[in-house]
Symmetry: C2
Subunit: 356 residues, 2 copies
Amino acid sequence: MSPLHTGTDFTREELQLAARNHGLPLEALRYPITPVGLHYILVHYDIPRIDPAAWRLEVRGLVEKPLDLGLDALRALPGVTLPVTFECAGNGRARLAPRPLSQPWLSEAVGTAEWTGVSLRTVLEQAGCLAGAVEVVFTGCDRGIENGTEQAFERSLSITDAMTGGAILAHGMNGGPLPPQHGFPLRLVVPGWYGMTNVKWLRRITVTAEPFGGYQQVWAYRIRQEENDPGEPLTLMAPRSLLAPPGIPDFFTRLRMCPRGSQRVEGRAWSGRAPIERVDFSDDGGSSWRPAELERPLGLHAWRGWWIDWEPRRSGAHVLASRARDAAGNEQPLSPPWNLGGYANNAVERVEVTVA
Amino acid sequence: MSPLHTGTDFTREELQLAARNHGLPLEALRYPITPVGLHYILVHYDIPRIDPAAWRLEVRGLVEKPLDLGLDALRALPGVTLPVTFECAGNGRARLAPRPLSQPWLSEAVGTAEWTGVSLRTVLEQAGCLAGAVEVVFTGCDRGIENGTEQAFERSLSITDAMTGGAILAHGMNGGPLPPQHGFPLRLVVPGWYGMTNVKWLRRITVTAEPFGGYQQVWAYRIRQEENDPGEPLTLMAPRSLLAPPGIPDFFTRLRMCPRGSQRVEGRAWSGRAPIERVDFSDDGGSSWRPAELERPLGLHAWRGWWIDWEPRRSGAHVLASRARDAAGNEQPLSPPWNLGGYANNAVERVEVTVA
C-alpha cells in the first residue's frame, strides 16, 4: 500500500506522476463529450509500443474455442457506441490528510468519451465459456513494477459482470481510433466502474476457474483502514459532482474573480450506482443549498449536466459547492472519507471565488 | 516575477497547475509527430469558450485595410503545413534550486505537431502594413489575472520577425482542426521560438508604431537575475535533447529496470537557433560520451530523432544522459543555468536506470 504523507507539500515522485498523467481542466466540463487530450489519463507504467498489424487479442482459459482476433476481425463484429464517464478511483486523493502517496489527484480525474467497440459478451460467446468459469481476467500490454514485482497491468471481472454488465471491447473513441494513451488498439470499457477496471492495451482475456489474485485486484484498489485489513474491492463509482469555476483565474493561485450580477454556473454529476436524481448548489461553502437544474441525460452511463443562475448577494469571498444524489439515495458526503489507498473520495468540492 | 521556493517539496499551487497542464510522457518521444493529447499543454488562464460561427480574426492598427476574417475565409487562403517543435520556456524549471514558483515542469514540456494554416505574411500583406509599423501584437481570447492585473494573453513580434520568420496562423493540427486546448479556432505558430510566442485562441492582430509593453512581453518571459533587471527577452529555443527511458518503470518512483544486453536507446533533439548537428550519449552521468546516430531531419523546425545501441557493461545503477549541439555551436550545458523566472533550463537530463 501507499505510504502516508502528513505535510501539505507534495513530493517529487508525486509531481513526476502529475506531470505525466493529467486531469480534466475544470472549464472542460462544458463539453458533454470530452475532447481527446482533455479527458483524464492515468498510465500506470509506460504507454506500450504496439504494432497494430501484428497485434492480436487472445481469448484463452476455460473456453471451448480459443480465439486470436486482429483489429479487422474485431471491427467486423457488430458494433456498439456508448457515452461512458470514467473517473479514477484515486480522484480526490490529494485532498486527504494524511495523504496516501500515489498519483496526487485533486478533483479532475474524470472524463466522458463516446466509446465504440464490440460487446464483451459477443466475444465471450464466440469463445464459449465452459462450466466452472468464475472470472474473466484482462491483461494489458503495459508492464512495470509495483510492490517490488514486475507485472503487466491486469484486472478481473466476475463472469456475471463480464456477461451482463454491458462491457465493451473498445477500438474507437469520439469517432476516431483509440489514441495511444487511451489504450490503442483495444481497451476494456465497463460502464459505471472506477477507471482501473477499463484495462488499456488489451492483449489477453482469460476465463478462469478461480478468482484472480493479481496485485491490482487483491492489493491495490481496495478500501481498507489498515495494512492487514483485506478490505473491500472498489467497483461502481460513488456519486460526485463538479462545477466549472465561474469568472477568470489568477494564473498561479487559480483563485477566481467573478463579476457582480447574475451568472450561470454549470457542472456535471455522475454515479456508477444509479442515475443522478438531484444536484444542489451552495454559495456559502455548504451551509445552505438550493437545487440546480438538470440537463437531459446523455446516456445511462454518462455524467449529467446541471446548471444554476447564481446572483451573488454581496462582494467578496464566496465558497461555491455542489452536491449530487443518485436515485439509489447515495449522496456526496460533506467531508472526505479516508482510507489507506486514498480511494473514492467523493466529498463535496469547494471552489473559492471573489466577487468584484 | 515568481517568488522562490527553497525546499525540495512542491506547493499546492504548483500541483494545481501540474494537474491542469501536462507534459509529454517521455515514452511518447517515439512518435516523430506527437499525437493529440500527448503534446505538452500550458494554458495560462482557462481554455476559452468560442463559437466558431461568430468568431472573427480582427486585423487592426497601422494597416491600409482593417480585416475581419472568419474561419472559412482563412481556410480559403493558400495553405501551408509544417512540422514544428514547441517547448515551453519554463521547461526544466522544477529542477532549479531555489525554484521559481510557477508551472513546475521537470523536462517534458515539449511536443511536435504538424500545423496547418495560412502564412502570417499573407494576411499582413492583405491588410497592408503602413509606414512606421514596428511591431505586431497578437491577442488571445483567454483572460485572467497576473501580477494583480486582469488581462488577455498577448505577445508581440517585431515587424521583421512577423514578415520573414515563417510564422503561420494555424487552424489545423495533425490533419484535424485545432483541439480546444491548442487554440481552436486559430493560433499563431512561430517556428523556432519558445512556446509562449504561439498565442492561442487568436482574436486580434494589431500592427503598432510602438514596442508592445504588455505583461507577457516586458515582465514575464525574460531572463533576469534580479527583480529590477529589465532582462533579456526569450526568443529562439536553446538546444536540448531528451531520451525515452529504456526498460520498465516502477509505478510510483518511475525508476527504471533494464535488461542486460544490447538495447536501443532513442530520443529527440531540437534547437530553435540552428539545425541539430550532433547528439552525444552517456551511461555514466556525463563523465564520458559517445556520439549517437541521427535520423533524417523531419523538417527545418522540428526535432531530430537520434538513437544508439547501448550495451550496459555491468549490472546495477547507471545514469543515462544525452547532449545536443546545433550547427551554430550552441550546446547543452551540464548544469542548469539559473534565472528568476526559471526559463530556458536546457541542462543535460540525467535518467537513472538499474540494469538487472
